[in-house]
């Protein structure tokens, strides 16, 4: 039984040694409260009764209450069990020089063919990302074909044009088009998720997504709210600004809740090797991420107001002072965005499980913000030519901060008749085999 010394924090592995290296002697009254457990996310030692991991913030209480998750498998090795987790190395080894050529050739062909080639370009780029992401020494494989992607793009472009033209010229049709969009939205989500899963393979086994339209509709019902409200406004049920502002306010407040439902829907219906994904994050955790991101704007707002008023009093030219005050505003936006991206990603990865695989994502908001800022500067300064470099370093940063933990053995994943890579081609004839994701 391992225990953690309450005075120096040292973890002692043996039952027999009831005396810590610092001299503290374990006594019967504290023997229960000094027991440790490993955090399933980052393998940090935590006291067994702790609610969340003190290193990565993972909600340990949720793991304990989850019937599928065996916390006892995470107790310390010397208690008789061997350490159950090992990390599968994950590496992104794409090179900016190589990707630059791929990017430029595909962009050039896309422009020369008035966009038709963009479906091929998407396949080439995804293929590059997948085949340079190595898990346990094996690259992922992207199996998507250009034609279903082209089909999806034609449909998406038609739908967008219908929306665009009707919103400008034929507003009487617009409510119906928005309504159709709301009805079709869950279908678009499930088709895209199914396409992505079906055409992603690792070690000759494809992923699978089995969400159905009705599940999707249930999971995303909040999303339907906006179009319905917009329709209402266009039909002039209540065309006042206050109603509109209230509608968007409610939607903004519900957004984290909706995101959790969507993630849970996608992860819960995605499987690999007959093992389904599981997702434990709560709406409260999502609210916390978005709330904290929102709070970033308070100091930013104060700085902007102070800077703005001082500069206005010194400079007559309001255009220059506006530009200057836009800087903290943009910085605040980048920080908030980086915060949502990093903490949102960590939240999702650290609270999901796929068979015996767990994940630990360690993205930092300041790391992401630095990345975004330097990327933006490099891209602008190079008139866009540094884009491939920016893409590569972003993917590398994300792979470096994602740890894949295997508890047990990969042989628990079993392929099925339809999961082998060559079976993917069989669905090609299906009309609804199309990619609607962007």
């Amino acid at each position: 039984m391992a225990w953690k010394c309450p005075t120096c924090g040292e973890v002692n592995h043996s039952d027999s040694m009831l005396r810590c290296t610092c001299g503290y002697e374990l006594d019967d009254s504290v023997i229960e409260s000094t027991k440790v457990t490993l955090c399933p996310g980052c393998l940090e030692h935590n006291y067994v009764d702790q609610d969340s991991c003190k290193k990565c913030g993972l909600n340990l209480k949720l793991y304990r209450s989850n019937p599928y998750f065996d916390m006892s498998s995470l107790y310390e090795p010397n208690s008789g069990m061997t350490r159950p987790s090992r990390e599968l190395p994950l590496e992104f080894n794409g090179s900016a020089r190589e990707y630059f050529r791929i990017w430029i050739v595909n962009l050039c062909l896309t422009l020369l063919t008035a966009g038709i080639f963009s479906a091929w370009a998407k396949v080439r780029k995804k293929r590059y990302f997948y085949s340079h992401t190595m898990l346990d020494g094996t690259p992922f494989q992207y199996l998507g074909r250009p034609l279903p992607i082209l089909k999806g793009r034609v449909i998406a472009a038609t739908a967008f044009s219908a929306y665009y033209v009707s919103s400008h010229f034929f507003t009487e049709v617009l409510p119906y088009i928005l309504l159709a969009g709301a009805v079709l939205a869950p279908w678009v989500i499930i088709r895209s998720a199914a396409f992505n899963a079906r055409y992603s393979s690792f070690r000759n086994m494809t992923f699978r997504f089995d969400g159905k339209y009705l599940d999707g509709l249930k999971a995303t019902c909040a999303w339907v709210l906006i179009p319905v409200l917009l329709v209402g406004i266009f039909f002039k049920w209540s065309g006042t600004n206050a109603v509109m502002a209230a509608a968007f306010g409610i939607f903004g407040l519900l957004f984290p809740w909706w995101i959790r439902r969507l993630k849970s829907f996608i992860i819960g219906h995605t499987s690999y090797g007959s093992k389904k994904g599981e997702f434990f994050a709560t709406s409260g955790q999502f609210f916390k991420v978005y709330l904290s991101a929102g709070l970033i704007f308070i100091p930013v707002g104060i700085i902007t107001v102070i800077m703005g008023s001082t500069i206005f009093s010194f400079l007559k030219d309001s255009q220059i002072s506006l530009l200057v005050t836009a800087v903290p505003g943009y910085a605040g936006y980048v920080l908030a965005y980086a915060y949502i991206k990093s903490h949102g990603n960590n939240l999702v990865w650290n609270h999901m499980r796929l068979g015996r695989l767990r994940f630990n994502s360690t993205l930092l908001a300041r790391g992401m913000a630095k990345l975004y800022l330097t990327n933006a500067l490099a891209i602008i300064a190079s008139l866009g030519l540094m884009t491939p470099w920016a893409v590569m370093r972003t993917l590398k940063y994300r792979a470096d901060n994602l740890h894949v933990l295997l508890e047990g053995d990969l042989s628990d994943f079993h392929g099925t008749e339809t999961s082998a890579v060559q079976a993917a081609g069989a669905e090609l004839g299906d009309f609804f085999d199309l990619d609607l994701s962007l």
């Binding site: 090179s95 190589e98 050739v105 962009l107 590059y128 090797g273 891209i379 884009t387």
Partner: protein, 342 residues
């Protein structure tokens, strides 16, 4: 001469479990012999298929039994049947720096020529085939929206002043191609100050402040002539077409950068649209100067009212647009004076 038998070593994946096993694939004549954990199988080489080349990454050989072998020997892999016919030539292009350089040149040429000549010309051509009537809904809605959302209040100008301006306006438009489409509206607006605008479909709105800022009928008509220019030259539809085309092209070009930083994607669109908007202003000015001279008014009136408006604004905060959508006033004034002297 005996040729060396070709041997490929790689990882074998049976499709049942995600476990890597070492395997050897040897080629003898028409046949491929797979050896994996002491078991051998023979296939016709032509029944294998290889995943497309992408950068220097390992590729996968699909075997007839549904298994895969991961392997990096690209020379041999290229000689086997390929899974995708269309991606081979693309991969060939992607490997060459020379092609990449030509690609940069072609992209730059397409974007620059399209931006400066192609897109404006195409928008003009398309616009000429769409009757101005289609824009009417858009214009009516815009005016309703502005009225309903308190941007505009009813005019406080006296009836006879309105009547005089209307008469002048009728003379201005008398023989123009869209003469029957015009509607002149007077509105009071505290937000907009002295302003005038051409809405889609031929509706022209002039604010009370603008009428009051003018010291003569000729100055009001100069402003209205500029707005007539926007209508006759179909600027609202052209700007919708050009701006949406710019947005679509920018989205294509920056699609990779967009996921990294929104500002990167938005900036080129904003700059491009600003340039088009300035061009439209200049075009409308030139049209107005010609129209004014044709009706025996002097473009100098346009210069004098622009100067007065600029002076009035000097003391106050300038408009909230970062990058002005209107050409620098001094320049416009200069061109108006030059037009008056011709």
């Amino acid at each position: 001469m005996i040729s060396q038998p070709i041997r490929l070593e790689g990882q074998y994946f049976d499709g049942n479990q995600p476990i890597a096993v070492r395997a050897v694939l040897a080629f003898e004549g028409q046949e491929a012999i797979l050896t994996v954990s002491q078991i051998s199988e023979r296939y016709f080489s032509q029944r294998l298929s290889v995943s497309p080349r992408i950068g220097g990454a390992d590729r996968f050989i699909n075997l007839p039994n549904g298994a895969q072998v991961q392997c990096s020997h690209h020379v041999i892999l290229d000689s086997l049947p390929q899974e995708s016919l269309s991606e081979g030539p693309v991969a060939w292009l992607e490997e060459r720096w020379g092609v990449a350089l030509i690609g940069v040149a072609i992209i730059a040429a397409i974007l620059l020529v399209g931006y400066f000549y192609g897109l404006p010309a195409a928008a003009k051509h398309v616009t000429s085939r769409i009757p101005i009537k289609t824009e009417q809904t858009l214009g009516r809605q815009a005016l309703d929206w502005l009225d309903n959302n308190k941007w505009f209040k009813p005019t406080t100008l006296e009836k006879d002043k309105q009547e005089r301006i209307r008469n002048g306006f009728d003379v201005l438009r008398s023989d123009l191609p869209f003469k029957d489409r015009y509607r002149l509206e007077f509105r009071d607006s505290t937000f907009m100050g002295p302003n005038a605008m051409a809405l889609p479909g031929g509706t022209i709105v002039i604010t009370d402040d603008m009428v009051k800022a003018a010291e003569s009928q000729e100055e009001v008509l100069a402003i209205l002539a500029h707005e007539i220019g926007h209508v006759e030259l179909r600027h609202s539809l052209r700007s919708i077409l050009q701006n949406s085309a710019v947005a679509v092209v920018a989205a294509t070009v920056t699609s990779d950068a967009a996921s990294l930083s929104i500002a990167v994607a938005g900036l080129p669109v904003l700059l491009a649209q600003t340039k088009y908007s300035r061009e439209f202003e200049t075009e409308a000015d030139d049209y107005a100067f010609k129209l004014l001279k044709k009706r025996n008014y002097s473009p100098a009136a346009f210069a004098s009212i622009m100067e007065r408006l600029a002076e009035k604004q000097e003391g106050k905060k300038r408009s909230l647009s970062f990058i002005s959508t209107h050409p620098v006033t001094e320049d416009r004034v200069k061109r108006a004076r030059a037009a008056a002297q011709q």
